[in-house]
């Protein structure tokens, strides 16, 4: 295995992150009835893509591709707006990673980006509720109930990343840090 992935290799890795995100959601569909529990998987794969691939839009790419797959496969609630539910957290992760250079080296950096992803999901939920014309008071309650769950699970998913990244780093598999000297 080569450690220096080509652009196509990186794109394929992001594609795998997107497809694993979607298939994990299908395979490990927990009947927890806790709003936002799927963010555990979503935030892990978004942050993984951004940490492994040295591109400023890596998480956005994973989010967009996962959203496209979910729309074509007809998963989740919200029709074509499902794309926003993946894209907004992903763009939040990309923006957060730009603002916090070296986030992947610290647990708090991963945790912060996880929280940003959860907030992005909450923003997307608020948008869907607003589009269907939900009463503003109920929308606030709904967004709070789903948002708290999304942020907590997103944080848990992000906290799974630092041990994985430290082992990848130990094996010299993190190209981003070697390239930028970060």
């Amino acid at each position: 295995m080569t450690h220096d992935q080509t652009a196509l290799g990186h794109a394929l890795f992001l594609g795998f992150c997107a497809v694993l995100l979607v298939s994990s959601k299908i395979l490990f569909r927990w009947h927890l009835h806790i709003p936002g529990h799927s963010m555990l998987i979503v935030s892990f794969f978004l942050l993984l893509g951004r940490a492994v691939v040295p591109s400023k839009t890596a998480a956005g790419t994973v989010g967009l591709w996962a959203g496209l797959m979910v729309v074509v496969l007809g998963l989740g609630k919200g029709g074509p707006l499902q794309i926003i539910k993946y894209l907004l957290p992903a763009l939040g992760v990309d923006l957060g990673a730009l603002l916090i250079p070296g986030w992947a080296r610290h647990i708090w950096g991963c945790a912060l980006l996880g929280i940003v992803a959860g907030l992005g999901k909450t923003g997307a939920d608020i948008f869907v509720d607003w589009v269907v014309g939900m009463d503003p008071g109920v929308l606030f309650l709904h967004a709070t109930a789903k948002g708290v769950g999304a942020v907590v699970f997103s944080l848990l998913g992000a906290l799974l990343l630092p041990p994985v990244l430290s082992r990848l780093r130990a094996h010299g598999l993190l190209q981003e840090e070697r390239a930028t000297g970060d």
Binding site: M1, T2, Q5, T6, L8, G9, H10, A11, L12, F13, L14, G15, F16, C17, A18, V19, L20, S23, L27, H33, F44, L48, V52, W65, L68, M69, V71, V72, L73, G74, L75, G76, K77, G78, G79, P80, L81, Q82, V128, D129, V131, V132, G133, M134, D135, G137, V138, L141, H142, A145, L159, L160, L161, P163, V164, R167, L168, H171, L173
Partner: protein
């Protein structure tokens, strides 16, 4: 020995029409804020399902998704605005909108063939994106199987990975160290190998519109 020419490919426009109709119908359902519009939207989605000849069973199964969501939204409405017939109808309308927006996707999933989706991806998306998405979808069962193999092997090695272990921090630590790390390395390895194999076979190729590697 004479070779008969390959049969012509079926036209792509019905698939594209199905995709765009599903997206438009889902958007219409989301925006139908009045009962008459919602009725129109439901009728159009039913007609779409009939035209696509979707089997009934997967559609009927999705009815059960509606009930928990409706009870949750109704609970929130009752909590915020108090009991009343209008409140009940309002909660029903919002839940129906969200549920109806979800149905065209199910119809689409059961009516699209993989070969046609792949051709559509190559028509609509940039070449590398289409190749990556199609390869990722094809490789998904392989990746999931490898993931399951790693899980079984780590369980045999004594890793704490049963559902009950996730109630303790040790279970989460083992999941990251002994399950997620090898799985990520496997993904990196597979993506590197596929990229190398594709480039050695001449990806991205020259002909516009060909489905790589099938038409190459």
């Amino acid at each position: 020995m004479s070779h008969s020419p390959a049969p012509p490919l079926p036209p792509l426009w019905p698939t594209a029409l199905k995709l765009f109709s599903a997206i438009a119908l889902a958007a219409l359902a989301l925006l139908s804020r009045t009962w008459p519009l919602l009725l129109v939207s439901a009728c159009l989605i039913a007609a779409f399902a009939l035209m696509c000849r979707t089997p009934c069973r997967p559609l009927v199964r999705k009815v059960w998704i509606f009930l928990p969501q409706f009870s949750f939204i109704l609970g929130l409405y009752l909590l915020r605005l108090g009991p009343g017939w209008n409140i009940f109808l309002e909660a029903l309308r919002v839940s129906l909108q969200i549920w109806l927006a979800f149905m065209p996707g199910i119809v689409l999933y059961h009516s699209l063939s993989w070969a046609q989706s792949r051709r559509l991806a190559y028509t609509l998306l940039p070449r590398q994106t289409a190749f990556v998405l199609c390869t990722a979808v094809i490789s998904a069962p392989l990746l999931v199987r490898e993931f399951q193999d790693i899980y079984q092997v780590q369980i045999l090695r004594g890793a704490r990975l049963t559902p009950r272990d996730f109630l303790l921090p040790a279970g989460w630590r083992d999941m990251a160290q002994s399950l997620l790390f090898p799985a990520v390395v496997q993904c990196l390895k597979t993506s590197s190998e596929i990229a190398q194999a594709a480039q050695l076979r001449g990806f991205p190729g020259q002909t516009k519109g060909e489905i790589w590697p099938y038409d190459a």
